[in-house]
C-alpha cells in the first residue's frame, strides 16, 4: 500500500521540479485528449509547446501575450502569498483599460511624451481602487474577498459595455460600440522596444516591476510580513503585522498591476475598447502565478509558457482545426496537475508494509 509520509522539511527540489512535472503531465494527458479527438497529438504538442519559441513570427508575439499575463500574475502572487485571494484581476484589468483609455481619449488631439505615463497612472489608480473595494469590504465588514472580487468582474464587464456604447464611443464610428483607436494614434500608442520578442514599453515596465516585486519579497520587511501573514496569520499579528494593512496592500498592488496591464493591452495589442476587449488574461494569470510558484522569476518563465500555449493554440486552430476551448482545457489541466504534484513538496510517497 502506498502511504504519504510528512517530510520534516519541505523539499526544495520538489518545489522547483513540480511545475516542470505539471507541464510534462499536461503534454502527456493533453496529447491523449487530442488523439481521442482525432487530432495528431505530436503535431499539436509541437505547435503548443515548441513552435511558439522557434518560429520568428511567433517569437515576435511572445511577450505581447506574456507581458500582461506576467504583470497581472506578479500582482496576484503577492496577494496569494499572504492568503489574500484576489480572483477579480479580470475586472481590474478592464477598469484599468477604461480609466487609461478615458484619459487618452480626453486628451485626443494633444501631443506630448507625458500622455502615455498619465494614462498609465490613471490605469494603475483605477485598477488599484477597483481592487480596494473588496479590500475595504473585507477589512470593515469581513466580506469574503474571493466572492466580492469575482462579482466585480461582472460589474466591470457591464461597465465596459456601457462605456463603449456611451461616453467612450468613437464619435465617427458609425454607431459601432467601440472607442477610437488609441493604438493608431501616435501620442497614445505604446512604442515597441524589442519587437523580435514582442517587448514594448509595457513589457519593459513589466520587467522593472517584476524586479521590484523580487526585491519586496526577498529583501524588504513588508515582503516578510506578507509571507508571514500567508504562513500563519496569528504569528503575523504577534509580530505586529496589521492584517488590514496587508489586505489593502495586496489588493491594491494586484489591482494596480492588473489595471496597468489593461491599459498596456489597450494601447498596444488591442488598440481600442470594445465589448470583446477582455480576453481572460486575469484568470489565466492565476495559473501563471501558481505555475511560477508565486516567485517573480518563476512567474516570468510560467508567463512565457502560458503565452506560448495561446500563440500555439491560435496556430493549431487553423492548422489542425483544434477547437479554441482546447487551450483553456489545457491551461486548467496544468493547474490541476500542479496542485496535485504539490503534495510531493511536503510529503514523500512511501511503500507501507501491511502491519501484522
Amino acid at each position: 500500500m502506498l502511504m504519504l509520509e510528512q517530510r520534516p522539511q519541505p523539499s526544495k527540489t520538489m518545489l522547483y521540479l513540480t511545475p516542470v512535472m505539471a507541464v510534462l503531465a499536461t503534454m502527456l494527458v493533453g496529447g491523449m485528449l487530442f488523439w481521442a479527438m482525432g487530432i495528431d497529438p505530436f503535431r499539436a504538442i509541437y505547435l503548443l509547446f515548441v513552435d511558439p519559441f522557434v518560429d520568428s513570427y511567433n517569437l515576435s508575439q511572445l511577450f505581447v501575450k506574456a507581458s500582461p499575463l506576467i504583470l497581472i500574475a506578479m500582482g496576484l502572487s503577492i496577494g496569494f502569498r499572504a492568503g489574500v485571494w484576489n480572483i477579480g484581476a479580470e475586472g481590474q484589468f478592464i477598469i484599468g483599460a477604461i480609466c487609461g483609455g478615458a484619459v487618452g481619449l480626453a486628451l485626443w488631439g494633444s501631443t506630448g511624451w507625458w500622455i502615455l505615463p498619465l494614462m498609465a497612472l490613471a490605469a494603475a489608480l483605477g485598477g488599484a481602487l477597483w481592487g480596494l473595494i473588496p479590500a475595504v469590504l473585507k477589512i470593515k465588514f469581513n466580506a469574503n474577498e474571493i466572492l466580492v472580487s469575482l462579482m466585480l468582474v461582472y460589474v466591470a464587464g457591464n461597465l465596459l459595455a456601457e462605456m463603449v456604447q456611451g461616453v467612450l464611443r468613437a464619435p465617427d464610428g458609425m454607431g459601432f460600440p467601440e472607442s477610437r483607436n488609441l493604438g493608431r494614434n501616435d501620442p497614445t500608442a505604446l512604442p515597441d522596444v524589442f519587437p523580435a520578442l514582442g517587448i514594448d514599453a509595457g513589457g519593459v515596465v513589466m520587467l522593472i516591476l517584476l524586479a521590484m516585486a523580487f526585491f519586496l519579497l526577498q529583501k524588504h520587511a513588508l515582503g516578510f510580513q506578507i509571507k508571514l501573514t500567508g504562513d500563519s496569520p496569528r504569528a503575523a499579528r504577534f509580530a505586529g503585522v496589521k492584517p488590514g494593512v496587508i489586505i489593502a496592500v495586496c489588493l491594491g498592488i494586484s489591482g494596480a498591476a492588473a489595471g496597468l496591464a489593461g491599459m498596456f493591452e489597450l494601447t498596444g495589442a488591442a488598440g481600442k475598447l470594445t465589448i470583446d476587449f477582455p480576453l481572460g488574461y486575469g484568470f489565466t494569470a492565476i495559473i501563471v502565478a501558481f505555475l511560477g510558484r508565486l516567485n517573480p522569476v518563476g512567474i516570468l518563465l510560467a508567463g512565457v509558457v502560458l503565452a506560448g500555449t495561446y500563440i500555439g493554440g491560435e496556430n493549431a486552430q487553423f492548422m489542425l482545426q483544434l477547437p479554441a476551448a482546447a487551450v483553456t482545457v489545457f491551461q486548467g489541466m496544468m493547474l490541476f496537475f500542479l496542485l496535485g504534484f504539490e503534495i510531493l513538496i511536503n510529503y514523500r510517497v512511501k511503500r507501507m508494509r501491511r502491519a501484522v
Binding site: P8, Q9, P10, K219, H220, A221, L222, F224, K227, L228, D231, S232, R234, A235, A236, R237, F238, A239, G240, K242, A355, V356
Partner: protein, 505 residues
C-alpha cells in the same frame, strides 16, 4: 480478581525512536492501574495501541482470555475498551447529546439518550445538561462529557490519559470519587499520569515506563512520591532550593484591565490588576480557558486596550501594538509554539526576525539585514542549545522542546525589561523544561521582571516568587508563593476569589 487484559511484548517504532520496546504487564478486573512515566516515556503510544489507534509492530494482547488486536477504535469499543483523551475529541458547536451520540457506535434516539445522560451523569456525580453546547462548558465539564460518553457504552476497561491536567483540585476529588465507584462496579481503569500524589491516592497498582520500556512495577500505597519519581526518572531526585528574591522598582503595573474576548467561546478579562517589580517572577495559575490567552494577548499588544490600564515603567502602553511594546522592552512568548510564537513553514532565521526585528535592529529602513538576522538566529541556537541541523530549517521540523527553547531564547536574548510567557514548558521533555526554567530564573536575577502563565502548579511553585490565579477572567491578588497551601490554591482556581483575597489579608 482475574486478569482482564494481558499485554505481552508490545513494541512500536517510529523513524528514529523506539516508542515502545517489549512492554508487558497485566490489568486485573476492577483495578485502577497506573501507567507512570515522564513525557515521552511511551505512555501515549502504548494506550493508543490498546485502543486500536496505532498498530503494534510486534507483541500480543489478550482481553478476557481472547486474542485482542483491534485494527480500529471501533473494534476496541466493541470489546469494552473505552478511552478519554487528554485532548478531547469534542465538537464545540454541537450539543452535549450530539457529542455523545457521535462517540457511540449504536446510539439510542434523542429522547432516550438525553434521559440516559441525565441518569448516568447523576449516578456518578458528574451532572450534565444534554442540550448545552460544548463551547459553553468549562474544561472540567467537557471532560465529564467524554467520560459519560465512555460510560454509556458499559466499558470493561476505561483508559484515562492525564485526566487531571485540566482540572481544579476540587474537580480532581470529584473525578476520583467517580473512578472509585466505577472500580467498585468492576470496571478496570488504566490511569496515565506523571502526578505521583494522585497515583498514590488513587491507584492499586502502577507500571512504570521509561524510554519505551517497563522499568518497574509497584503498589503506590507502599511507596513514597519520591521513590516513585526516582523509578520514573531513573536516578536520584534533586530538589530545588527556593532562591532569594529581593524586589526592585516597579516594572509593570496593570490597572483595571478589561478585554472582551473575540472568540465566541473565549473568556473576557474583568478588572485585572497587579504590580510587577524588577527581578520578580509572577506565576499565574488557573485552569485552561479562564483567560490565559486573553491576558497574553492584552500584554503582548495583539489586543489593544485602554492605554492607562497597562503601565510599563510608569508609561501608559495599553494602546500600543506589539512592536511598539517591544521597542519599550515588553516581550512575550505565547503558548502555541507553531502558528503563533513561530511560523511553521518559515526558517529559524525568519522566525528570529519575527520578533527580533525591532530590538535587534534587523531591518534598518525596512531592508532586511540577512547577515545580522542569521547571526541572531545562530546565537539563539547556540546559547539555548537548540538541536537543529541549522538555522535554515523550517520551524515545524524542530521537536516541541527544541522549538520552545528557540522561542524563549529569542525573547530572552533581546534583554527584555518585562517578559510574559504562557505555558513555557507544555509538552516539553524534562531536560528542556529544566533549562527553560533556568533561563527564566536567570533573566529575573539579571533584573528583568517575568510573568509565567502555566497550568502546571508544580512548575509555578518551583519558579515563581509571587503567585496569582486566573479564574473566569479575573485575577486574584498576587501573594508570595512561599507558604501557600495546595488547598488554598485549589479554592482560588475554582473561582473563589474571596478565599484568594482573604489569604492575602
Amino acid at each position: 480478581m482475574s486478569v482482564l487484559l494481558d499485554i505481552q511484548g508490545l513494541s512500536k517504532s517510529y523513524p528514529g525512536v523506539k516508542a515502545n520496546d517489549d512492554v508487558s504487564f497485566q490489568i486485573q478486573e476492577g483495578e485502577i492501574h497506573a501507567l507512570l512515566g515522564e513525557n515521552g516515556a511511551g505512555k501515549s503510544t502504548l494506550v493508543k495501541m490498546i485502543y486500536g489507534l496505532v498498530r503494534p509492530d510486534s507483541g500480543t494482547m489478550v482481553l478476557n482470555g481472547e486474542k485482542f488486536a483491534p485494527p480500529k477504535p471501533f473494534f476496541a469499543r466493541q470489546k469494552g475498551v473505552s478511552m478519554v483523551f487528554q485532548h478531547f475529541s469534542l465538537f464545540e458547536a454541537l450539543t452535549v447529546a450530539e457529542n455523545i451520540t457521535l462517540g457511540m457506535d449504536v446510539a439510542p434516539n434523542r429522547k432516550e439518550l438525553s434521559a440516559q445522560i441525565r441518569k448516568v451523569s447523576n449516578e456518578y456525580g458528574l451532572p450534565l445538561d444534554p442540550d448545552r453546547l460544548i463551547g459553553d462548558l468549562s474544561v472540567g465539564e467537557r471532560q465529564r462529557v467524554e467520560i459519560i460518553r465512555c460510560l454509556l457504552q458499559d466499558p470493561r476497561l476505561l483508559i484515562m490519559d492525564e485526566p487531571t491536567s485540566v482540572l481544579t483540585p476540587q474537580e480532581v476529588d470529584t473525578l476520583f470519587g467517580t473512578l472509585r465507584k466505577l472500580s467498585e462496579n468492576g470496571v478496570a481503569i488504566l490511569y496515565i499520569s506523571h502526578k505521583l500524589d494522585e497515583i498514590k491516592a488513587l491507584c492499586d497498582h502502577a507500571t512504570v515506563l521509561r524510554m519505551g520500556k517497563v522499568v518497574d512495577t509497584c503498589i503506590p500505597a507502599n511507596e513514597t512520591a519520591r521513590s516513585m519519581a526516582e523509578m520514573m526518572i531513573g536516578g536520584e531526585l534533586e530538589i530545588h532550593a527556593a532562591t532569594e528574591f529581593t524586589p526592585g522598582a516597579e516594572a509593570l503595573r496593570v490597572e483595571d484591565l478589561n478585554l472582551a474576548s473575540k472568540d465566541p467561546f473565549g473568556t473576557s478579562l474583568k478588572n485585572v490588576s497587579f504590580t510587577l517589580r524588577k527581578g520578580e517572577i509572577l506565576g499565574i495559575g488557573g485552569v485552561a480557558g479562564n483567560g490565559q490567552d486573553e491576558i497574553l494577548a492584552a500584554l503582548s499588544g495583539e489586543e489593544k486596550v485602554t492605554p492607562e490600564t497597562i503601565l510599563l515603567g510608569g508609561k501608559a502602553i495599553g494602546g500600543d501594538g506589539p512592536n511598539a511594546r517591544r521597542e519599550k522592552g515588553l516581550l512575550s512568548a505565547p503558548e502555541e509554539r507553531l502558528g503563533h510564537a513561530a511560523a511553521p513553514m518559515m526558517t529559524l532565521t525568519q522566525n528570529a526576525f519575527l520578533t527580533g526585528r525591532i530590538r535587534k535592529n534587523l531591518a534598518p529602513n525596512g531592508v532586511i539585514n540577512h547577515r545580522k538576522t542569521t547571526g541572531f538566529a545562530e546565537e539563539i541556537v547556540k546559547k539555548f542549545d537548540v538541536r537543529t541541523p541549522g538555522v535554515h530549517v523550517a520551524a515545524k521540523a524542530l521537536s516541541g522542546g527544541n522549538l520552545q527553547k528557540f522561542v524563549i531564547g529569542r525573547e530572552v536574548l533581546q534583554s527584555p525589561e518585562v517578559l510574559v510567557v504562557n505555558q513555557p514548558t507544555w509538552g516539553v521533555d524534562a531536560a528542556a523544561a529544566a533549562s527553560i526554567r533556568q533561563a527564566l530564573r536567570q533573566l529575573a536575577v539579571s533584573g528583568a521582571a517575568v510573568i509565567v502563565i502555566s497550568q502546571d502548579l508544580d512548575e509555578l511553585m518551583e519558579i515563581s516568587d509571587t503567585f496569582a490565579v486566573l479564574a473566569e477572567g479575573r485575577l486574584s491578588k498576587p501573594q508570595p508563593s512561599d507558604g501557600l497551601s495546595i488547598e488554598e490554591i485549589g479554592l482560588m482556581m475554582g473561582g473563589d476569589l474571596e478565599v484568594a483575597n482573604h489569604v492575602d489579608a
